[in-house]
Subunit: 135 residues, 6 copies
Amino acid sequence: MSTYKPEESIEENERVKAVFDDIRKTRNSDFVNNMWYYIAFDEDLLERTWAEVKRVMAMPSEIDPLTKEMLYIAVSIANSCAYCVHSHTAAARAKGLTDGQHAEIIKIVALAAKTNHIANGLQIPTDEVFDKENS
Amino acid sequence: MSTYKPEESIEENERVKAVFDDIRKTRNSDFVNNMWYYIAFDEDLLERTWAEVKRVMAMPSEIDPLTKEMLYIAVSIANSCAYCVHSHTAAARAKGLTDGQHAEIIKIVALAAKTNHIANGLQIPTDEVFDKENS
Amino acid sequence: MSTYKPEESIEENERVKAVFDDIRKTRNSDFVNNMWYYIAFDEDLLERTWAEVKRVMAMPSEIDPLTKEMLYIAVSIANSCAYCVHSHTAAARAKGLTDGQHAEIIKIVALAAKTNHIANGLQIPTDEVFDKENS
Amino acid sequence: MSTYKPEESIEENERVKAVFDDIRKTRNSDFVNNMWYYIAFDEDLLERTWAEVKRVMAMPSEIDPLTKEMLYIAVSIANSCAYCVHSHTAAARAKGLTDGQHAEIIKIVALAAKTNHIANGLQIPTDEVFDKENS
Amino acid sequence: MSTYKPEESIEENERVKAVFDDIRKTRNSDFVNNMWYYIAFDEDLLERTWAEVKRVMAMPSEIDPLTKEMLYIAVSIANSCAYCVHSHTAAARAKGLTDGQHAEIIKIVALAAKTNHIANGLQIPTDEVFDKENS
Amino acid sequence: MSTYKPEESIEENERVKAVFDDIRKTRNSDFVNNMWYYIAFDEDLLERTWAEVKRVMAMPSEIDPLTKEMLYIAVSIANSCAYCVHSHTAAARAKGLTDGQHAEIIKIVALAAKTNHIANGLQIPTDEVFDKENS
């Protein structure tokens, strides 16, 4: 079920085709996942979302590609986005995520959620020493 | 403001003192942050929370210590836990987090939140190929 | 899957029938969506929820009907409620939502989620000028 | 800081005064907490919110008053509402919440958050036997 | 759909079998729900999660077993965890949850969510009297 | 408190100054709010965030400027972002938000949160008729 149904002929749109071609080239794979088909009804949404994903996730930077996917998974779990948990777990596996690392991500995310709720439950005041404002 | 006020004499409790001593030893620092003072009113809560944090975050494993803190920050942001964002950003800095990496975490977390909301907004169906159930 | 299964004969209950009839009349349609069938096992829950939805969403007020549905969609996305995203996107379409507006809602919600996570990630202090308390 | 500042003369409004008087009478206390002052700028919002809180929380029912406050605390923690965590922890204490029970709520909420994130992280499929739809 | 597929032979692993046997014995039932099958790929995750669930939820304490399940449901709803809502609603029913109590939980959780959003929307300042820090 | 402290001389950086100048020009005001000071430590984060906010929020489109701010507020409340609730409520007021509309936003957001939790609590199945996939 979805709130929008992509048309089969979506790639006949030149702007859509250009993005899809770049996705395939960047990932070195013919497969384009549903995310891109479902946002293609608005070319601006498609082009800008892909541009940001490519720049943040696919460009070389100080954080390595696998760690980036781990962070993406962590946020997607906390925000209850089933689609994103699936797609980025698959992406992480494609970048070398082992079963041991997968289990560890789950443990860290679960522990963080646990202490998040403890801190919010007791409304623990932030230690002055953590404040960069006055350091 | 908090919903519990730790007593000043909390470390006179032997079980509490044992945990605080282990925190100081494990971190090689005299400083014990508020989290532990505020949950010390229940020794069981204190002992078990510390045991889990120590095991998951401080023990050598397949994911390096700085990446663990990054994941913790990501979850804490998504769960809106101010205390945890502060304490784990400080912990990450102590483990070498650079300003460039900090900015990158923010960019990845922000992008993930963005596509989480896009996927949930359009209720994009998960691609069959992501399903491990039938692979 | 659901945690409660409505009985087929639910409308034989007079209080339930009265609410269902009012839903049909208010919406000028025979269709009653699942929300109402699933909460009908408790007449009080059914009557009061419908009364509030009717008052807030269907009564003339300072905010027009389509904008109300847009706001409902925005909250439902952020709260990860698949049912509500579906039902209120359908309701918005029935009230004239265009594809262009739909895409724009998604862009605004996604951008808000992005800056929500940036502000929470850096724990940006609120500008004094925004405070109505001291204005 | 707040996004609205209640006027000092707010109780000169008769509809507001009627609600405030009922709050004082129902709670058998002169104290009215900020929640009611801050929503009093809209009489309809004030009257209806109080009517619902009174009916759901203060009327005798199948769930006892202290358990109701516990549930309120649990939801408020998960939704990161600092105000509500504070006000309902105070309300629970007024209804007899012990330190031991407080610690236990925190442990249950924290454990639930932990397994919520585990289940969402692995996208664990719901067991058929839990489905009431086909039972 | 899931991001991990448990192997059929999972119980041939002795550590896994020991946990599954304890789950069956503790619950006095042969049925083991999916949660445990899906986290069994990591024995440590399985053993520690079960140990915590057993200790917090199954051991006699100041909060009765049915109330514990109610709290678990409340958090799981707020965190949008479909699996946990299903499994703990089933667990609550097995411990005697009536339809009337079920409806009441829904009403309390829904009201809490409502006032959580009101308080966050107006950024209502916490009353000084709720602060335990200065009491 | 914040996890980053902007340097006073931040506008001496030319890229930062260019963005700040454009913010002032676009808003026709000398005031630049904290959001931009706190993300200015990373020029890329600053430039791209502002470019997106300007494009989505300040450019003429199918949704009027005040409605856009209302949607932003709704998402920020649901995501518990205090900073964003404050800044976008101020922005909405600057664009003409009346007290009556403000109260109505709160009522709609609160009602949506309420039914979000009801639907998630009962795991209400989505009506087939809402599915665009098979329409």
